[in-house]
């Protein structure tokens, strides 16, 4: 039982990174990405291949995963983020489909079977094979993500992003380059998803396309909306709730997607600010203009 809770805690930590990074895109760039799981997957494969094919050390593999995923985010964000909100959702969804097909068909990703036998991380001779140690590593990743996000949001750049979100035209008149900010935040969020992917791959040790599909993207989106779009703490809470809750409701597993879908619609009608949307780091932009 303790081992099982430890496992869930590790998974929850990985989802916290994913939810917080998606929340940067939603709450601070005002866009919806439906391909966050695709970046998660890119990070997982990049890290795995770095270790297995290049014999890279673990820290180097993590760095590769973060940089490569961030670069993919940049490449996808550049053409789409100049346009209206809705485009990114569809383009990222399409990107997810392309990636799903690539993971299944490419030789380098091991085809539909994926890659097995991913080694545990070793940093400076210290092995993270033990789950307790791994939880520590994930905790480090979560702490880094939260600190980075907090510093970003409360910096000059964070204020610029909020200005864009609240009134883009005014922000541009003030000399803020809004497309550049949106692309940057999207690439950063993708890079963080890459970090989560790396942490996931070296923990689960067996990856294939199934973990990185639309279902996962929707689950991350649910975590963000449940916790409150634009609330960093909310995303942490949302990720924890949606990791543990399905486990206690095992008998309802067939209804999981039904519940996620219904939850999204119901939350947005009844409580668009989510559970913690009124907190310190929240935003007011979701409130209805009468």
């Amino acid at each position: 039982m303790a081992a099982y809770i430890l496992h869930l805690a590790i998974v929850a930590g990985i989802y916290i990174i994913l939810a917080v990074s998606l929340n940067l895109i939603i709450g601070y760039a005002g866009q919806v990405s439906l391909g966050h799981a695709a970046f998660f997957g890119i990070g997982a494969y990049a890290s795995t291949l770095a270790v297995l094919s290049w014999q890279a050390s673990y820290p180097l593999a993590v760095l590769t995963a973060i940089l490569f995923t961030g670069f993919c985010g940049l490449a996808l964000g550049l053409p789409t983020l100049r346009l209206k909100e809705d485009y990114l959702a569809i383009v990222t969804l399409g990107f997810g489909v392309i990636l799903d097909l690539s993971m299944r068909n490419l030789e380098i990703t091991g085809g539909p079977d994926g890659i097995v036998g991913i080694p545990s991380p070793v940093i400076l001779g210290l092995s993270f094979r033990d789950p307790v140690m791994y939880l520590l590593l994930v905790g480090l990743g979560v702490a880094f993500t939260l600190l980075f996000t907090y510093l970003l949001v409360s910096s000059y750049h964070g204020r610029a992003l909020r200005a864009i979100r609240d009134h883009e035209t005014t922000a541009q008149v003030m000399g803020i380059n809004s497309p550049a900010y949106k692309v940057a935040i999207f690439a950063l969020a993708a890079a963080l998803a890459g970090l989560a992917g790396s942490l996931y791959a070296h923990y689960i040790k067996h990856i294939n396309y199934e973990s990185f599909g639309l279902h996962t993207s929707i689950m991350i989106l649910c975590m963000v909306v449940l916790g409150g779009m634009g609330s960093i703490l909310g995303s942490v809470v949302g990720a924890i709730i949606l990791t543990f809750l399905p486990e206690t409701l095992r008998q309802f597993q067939a209804y999981q997607d039904l519940i996620y879908g219904g939850l999204l619609v119901a939350l947005l009608i009844l409580r668009p600010q989510g559970l913690l949307g009124k907190g310190k780091l929240s935003l007011k932009f979701l409130e209805r203009k009468e």
């Binding site: 809705d86 990107f95 097909l101 929707i218 996620y260 947005l268 932009f285």
Partner: protein
Amino acid sequence: MFLQQLINGLTTGSAYALIALGYTMIYGILGLINFAQGEIYMCGAFVTVLLLATGQVPFLAAVAAGLVAAAVLGLILERVAFRPLRGAHPLVPLISAIGASIFLQSLALLLFGPNNRPFPMALDFAAINLAGLPVNTLEAAILIAALGFMGLLVLFVRYTRYGKAIVACALDRDTARLMGINVDRMVALTFIVGSALSGAGGIMMAMYYNATYPHMGLLPGLKAFSAAILGGVGNIPGAILGGLLLGVAESLGAAYISSGYKDAIAFIILILVLLIRPQGILKGRGH
């Protein structure tokens, strides 16, 4: 070979065009993407197939029921997932529609199971020879029916009071209201018409591929969106052109480039269009 691929492409393209029309009309009037358009397509196909499978419903009645079911689903979606959220940040109805799409997909999965259902073919579509060319009559029938629906839509929008009222709302909602048009009713009507067209596309593809399943709307829905962008979102002839072009590009790409990546072609086109000509071939009003 080339001609056959071209006809295959036009056939699937006509289904994309029908869904793209639903996207474009709703986008035109609300400025929102109805993410659940693919599920409306699936709903139309399922109702028709289930009715035909009973063996007691004539073909045309089953098709009509499928169209009505799609229209009703569209109307319900408008009421539940869009209307309560009007005036909110555009992100909010977008996510709500994504939620509705996932909900409907998993509901269909629970109700009907994951398996493919064949289309109980009531009519016989034999291949005939036309001036030495083999013609698949099913493809011909689908193409003609799709073009018929598109023609009807264009006539409806151009020449009827309701069609003109929809255009007026799309151009300027406030002025339309001042002219005495009931905007809420026109939005609902747009959802009805757009959803019925998507449902028609679903029925045609259920016949063409002889398969109806809960996730059937996912990819065609996405591709139809790409088609709407390709043609110019908000532009009705653009949606038709975009759908047909996309179908042909996909069919030729699968035949001559790689069939494994057939589903990726639409998105590569989408990204290229967004890079090179975001307003689409025929200028849309999206920007």
